[in-house]
């Protein structure tokens, strides 16, 4: 069972980290784009 938890844990962590990192980067860029358009 340890191997199953390790494999599913790795996949779950990879998907979550990638998705959150993408979302955070998008928000940062969108905020920067809005700042430029407001000036």
């Amino acid at each position: 069972m340890t191997y199953v938890i390790a494999a599913y844990g790795f996949i779950g962590a990879a998907i979550s980290v990638y998705g959150l990192a993408m979302y955070a980067r998008f928000r940062r860029l969108r905020a920067a784009a809005k700042d430029v358009s407001d000036e």
Binding site: M1, Y3, V4, A6, A7, Y8, F10, I11, A14, I15, Y18, G19, M22, Y23, R25, F26, R27, L29, R30, A32, A33, K34, V36, S37
Partner: protein, 222 residues
């Protein structure tokens, strides 16, 4: 009408479908699918195979978009190619790592230089290098053209990986779908696998859309 990338959201509603589908896929893998005679570690297969499937699907999208980049000289297609290649590399990593963990449980070794494992590792190296190539080419248009040619040539490794277990005698288990003799699955296992493949495909679509929008926003702000 093309919407301003700065006014868009990162993910569309499909990310919620993907979240629900992934949780249901976990239930299918752990509760619906019966335990295999080989033991509990076989359950890794329900997320390992879909990871590999999505990686191949993503690389296929990359090669189609790359052909379109060369044919149409369009940066829209280049955004799609770079987005899909990155997601494909992520899912290829997941397939390699989950397969390695299963290998440790089943064969008592983390890695063997078997035809399927080696060709998958080569695919991973090719598409990881694709990202590096893009980072190190200064002009966006030149980067797009170089990367397109590289992705098209590199894609030759994908069908080779798919066929590796059919062409050579390998330590990797035989194909369970379209595998011929020695393949096949119990119906409940097949249902669980197909559901997981569907869930991963929805997740791929959600990620691809998000990554594509991110890429367009990045280019708009440069």
């Amino acid at each position: 009408m093309v919407r301003d990338p700065a006014r868009r959201r990162c993910f569309g509603p499909e990310i919620w479908f993907a979240g629900v589908a992934m949780h249901l896929a976990m239930l299918a893998a752990f509760l619906y699918a019966p335990q295999d005679v080989s033991g509990e570690a076989q359950r890794i297969f329900y997320f390992h195979v879909p990871s590999a499937w999505v990686a191949f699907l993503a690389f296929f999208v990359t090669v189609i978009a790359s052909i379109a980049v060369l044919a149409k000289r369009s940066m829209w297609w280049d955004s799609l190619a770079v987005s899909s290649a990155e997601i494909g590399t992520l899912f290829c990593t997941m397939a390699l790592v989950s397969g390695s963990i299963w290998g440790k449980a089943a064969w008592n070794v983390w890695w063997v230089w078997d035809a399927r494992l080696t060709t998958t590792f080569i695919v991973w190296l090719i598409y990881a290098s694709y990202a590096v190539l893009r980072m190190n080419t200064p002009s966006a248009e030149r980067s797009a053209r170089f990367a397109a040619v590289y992705a098209i040539v590199g894609f030759a490794s994908v069908p080779l990986t798919f066929l590796a277990i059919r062409l050579w005698r390998t330590q990797h288990p035989p194909a369970v779908v379209m595998g011929g003799d020695g393949g096949g699955l119990e119906p409940k296992m097949l249902h669980a696998l197909l559901f997981c493949v569907g869930a991963f495909t929805v997740l791929f679509v959600a990620f691809l859309r998000g990554r594509f929008r991110l890429e367009q926003l990045r280019r708009a702000t440069q």
